[in-house]
């Protein structure tokens, strides 16, 4: 059949493409310069056991380039991201940390992205309100310095290397709304009532017909 031939042909082509893809070296996280950026994130509410509310609470993020940074000349853009702490990655393989940068899923939430101004040497800060699509979890903040080819060259994070210090917890919005709940109940009731009305009506008609 023509379809089978087409399938086999595409199969061959695909396997050839795959093998000819070759060995381009993947960019690794461990190649990046550590601690090139010094960054701190202060939540708007602090204290023992405080959980920040998504959509409401803020982070005040302060950053500057470290004096020990060597690749500063390459910095073009600074990307600040919200990252999962290890405790929020347990049993959740879609948040796993990978060394290959393109595979790494531990920092999916973008906080901010802005061009790097080499003339400003002092610490800069900005506020970030936790977005309403941030899930419940424990987080830290990481900033990547990106070069002109959009490749990361250096980074800095608010926590230590073991990712145990200076973490903060966020509680997500529930996504539920009273209006949604009410609409849901209304339609459910309508469904059940419509069915019963129909059923009872027909039974009545059948009885009337039978007695005729």
């Amino acid at each position: 059949m023509a379809i089978t031939k087409l399938l086999f042909a595409s199969l061959l082509i695909c396997s050839m493409i795959q093998s000819s893809h070759g060995a381009t070296k993947e960019r690794l996280f461990t190649d990046l310069e550590k601690g090139a950026l010094e960054i701190t994130a202060t939540p708007s509410r602090t204290g023992q056991g405080v959980v920040l509310a998504a959509g409401v609470d803020k982070l005040s993020i302060t950053w500057k380039v470290s004096s020990t940074a060597t690749k500063e000349a390459e910095f073009k853009i600074i990307k600040v991201k919200l990252c999962y702490a290890p405790v929020s990655q347990v049993d959740r393989p879609w948040r796993k940390t990978h060394n290959e940068l393109f595979k790494d899923k531990s920092c999916p939430h973008k906080i901010s992205s802005f061009p790097y101004d080499p003339t400003v040497k002092t610490a800069q800060s900005f506020d970030y309100t936790l977005e309403r699509d941030i899930p419940t979890g424990t987080y830290y903040v990481r900033a990547y310095a990106v070069d002109a080819q959009d490749h990361e060259v250096a980074f800095g994070q608010t926590t230590n290397e073991a990712k145990t210090a200076d973490l903060f917890s966020v509680q997500a919005i529930s996504g539920r709304h009273k209006s949604l709940d009410i609409a849901s109940v209304c339609f459910s009731v309508f469904s059940v009532v419509a069915l019963l009305v129909f059923f009872v009506n027909e039974k009545r008609k059948a009885k009337i017909e039978q007695s005729k």
């Binding site: 399938l7 595409s10 199969l11 695909c14 396997s15 493409i17 795959q18 893809h21 347990v90 049993d91 959740r92 393989p93 879609w94 309403r132 699509d133 899930p135 419940t136 979890g137 997500a172 919005i173 529930s174 996504g175 539920r176 709304h177 949604l180 709940d181 609409a183 849901s184 109940v185 339609f187 459910s188 309508f190 469904s191 059940v192 419509a194 069915l195 129909f198 059923f199 027909e202 039974k203 059948a206 017909e209």
Partner: protein
């Protein structure tokens, strides 16, 4: 009204008794012409008269004044003898369309959560185990509800059975808006899963409207198109979600609103079924005349025949690894493409949809392949065809798990879907030959085996952190190949097995052996006798005396 079990066993799950194709139709026609001759004085189509079933007291849409003026040619029971797919003529084709669309709607709502899992898992803080357990729950509920549905159809009739189930499960779909955590999510998916029992009402209703000659094709088409709902939902839900997001809702609210769409579909289909559907084509007077003469069989005896036949269990296992893996894949594939290949939600949805949509032709094609094999090699050909198709599906599943690029994964997935779904069709091309007496129960057990296999597979491979999803798919493929091997052990003494030739037992002896001497004296076995005669073609080409080479 007394509930005869014969109606229950034949119609409760006559799941795709025969699958598609004109060659098979001729075989079926042969079955029933012969059986008609054998039992003409008693009733019109003895082995399937029970399929009209006791439709309860609902006479909706039936006017005692109609003189049988239908768009389609009908038989003496006013059942259509022709299957005109594009017509919506009342009552036959209209019933067909109402029936498969409501079954498809239930598939849509059962698997509606699957493509949205990447959003839901963040909102509800789910772990991999929670997601896996919810998947298991979604297919487990219907194991039980399908068994109950047969009784419901007997008592209330298929129209009410369908409408009741569809409209009473609408609240379960709407209750997704209340879900706050893993427990709620699993519970709601479990409850929504009950509505997959519309499969039973769908097949039962078809059998009141279509004559037994073509019931195989009709039921098979209805089942295949219904299963497509599992594919449609992968496309529909992400698109609806995107639209709601664009209208301004946040992600965690948008998915809850998206669930209103399947909920509304339930209500709409329920109302359509109640208003446009009718239980009987007409001529209910004739139905009452015939009803008294049905051969009543005992539930216990039928169950015993089904359960002690080892072939039943082989096919329960096999269906668990063709239909079962199809259901499991419906639950995991969109999330898999989203995570592994970094696709957008609706792109992952499109790819996942093509898996389920292949049912449109893959399932009938499997039945057709089985019939072609039977034409040349008889039952042995059917067994080989099933083994080859299902094992091929397993191999492609392994390949899917091991595919590292998007294109290879998509190709592997499509081939896997063709293999698994064609295997479903091929399975039910053989099931009717396992037993004549217990056809309904065996079909029901096989169907339940499908759901059970799905739950088991999801529990082992997709609910733990032990396997990544790609490893899970690979191992699922290995398990398919392993669990298809038992078909080599299936031996019909009159036709042989894959490797062994037939013995001297004839088809008559095989089918009549299910009845005791006492029952034979009461002529209860005549239907089996007639079936055995018409099953001669399963002997392959050698069995025909006039063979054109």
């Amino acid at each position: 009204m007394p509930q005869t079990f014969e109606t229950h066993d034949r119609t409760a799950e006559p799941e795709d008794i025969f699958h598609s194709d004109t060659d098979l139709l001729e075989t079926i026609a042969a079955h029933h012409d012969v059986s008609d001759q054998v039992q003409a004085p008693k009733q019109l189509s003895p082995s399937h008269s029970s399929e009209t079933g006791d439709t309860g007291s609902s006479m909706h849409g039936v006017s005692t004044k109609t003189t049988g003026k239908y768009d389609l040619p009908v038989d003496l029971e006013d059942k259509a003898t022709v299957f005109k797919i594009l017509s919506v003529a009342k009552p036959h084709m209209r019933t067909f369309h109402l029936s498969w669309i409501s079954f498809s709607t239930c598939f849509v709502s059962t698997f509606a959560a699957a493509p949205l899992v990447p959003i839901i898992r963040e909102n509800l803080n789910l772990t991999k185990q929670d997601i896996g357990n919810a998947g298991v729950a979604s297919v487990s509920g219907s194991i039980f509800s399908r068994l109950v549905m047969g009784a419901v159809c007997d008592i209330l009739g298929p129209r009410y059975g369908c409408a009741f189930l569809v409209m009473l499960s609408a609240p379960t779909v709407f209750s997704m808006s209340f879900v706050g955590g893993a427990a709620g999510f699993i519970t709601v998916r479990f409850m929504i899963g009950f509505c997959l029992a519309t499969f039973v009402s769908c097949q039962y209703w078809m059998s009141t409207m279509f004559t037994s000659n073509i019931i195989g094709l009709v039921n098979g088409t209805a089942a295949g198109w219904g299963n497509m709902g599992g594919g449609i939902t992968q496309l529909l839900m992400p698109v609806v979600y995107e639209i709601i997001r664009r209208c301004g809702a946040t992600a965690f609210t948008a998915w809850r609103i998206a669930f209103f769409v399947p909920g509304w579909l339930h209500i709409i289909m329920g109302i359509l079924v109640l208003t446009l559907g009718q239980d009987l084509p007409g001529g209910n007077r004739k139905d009452m005349e015939i009803r008294g003469k049905v051969v009543k069989d005992k539930l216990g005896k039928i169950m015993w025949c089904a359960v002690t036949n080892y072939r039943t269990w082989i096919f329960v296992l096999l269906y668990g690894y063709s239909m079962g893996v199809e259901l499991s894949t419906d639950n995991v594939i969109a999330e898999y493409f989203f995570d592994r290949f970094h696709l957008k939600l609706h792109t992952a949805g499109i790819i996942a949809a093509s898996f389920g949509m292949a049912n449109f032709f893959a399932r009938p094609a499997g039945g057709y392949a089985s019939d072609m094999a039977a034409k040349y090699f008889g039952m042995r050909g059917r067994l080989w065809a099933l083994w080859i198709i299902q094992t091929a599906g397993g191999i492609f599943c392994v390949w899917l798990g091991r595919a590292n690029t998007l294109v290879t994964a998509v190709v592997a997935m499509i081939l896997f879907s063709l293999g698994a779904q064609a295997a479903c069709g091929a399975t039910f091309a053989i099931v009717p030959f396992i037993s004549r007496r217990s056809l309904g129960i065996i079909s029901g057990l096989t169907g339940a085996g499908g759901n059970f296999g799905s739950g088991l597979t999801q529990l082992i491979f997709f609910s733990t952190s032990r396997f990544t999803t790609e490893q899970g798919l690979t191992w699922m493929g290995v398990m398919i190949i392993a669990c298809t091997l038992p078909v080599t052990l299936c031996r019909f003494p009159q036709w042989g097995s894959m490797f062994l030739p037939p013995s001297t037992v004839t088809a008559e002896q095989y089918y009549v052996s299910e009845w005791s001497e006492e029952e034979k004296q009461n002529n209860m076995h005549l239907g089996s006798l007639a079936f055995a005669k018409s099953a001669e073609s399963e002997g392959g080409r050698r069995a025909h005396s006039t063979v054109i080479v």
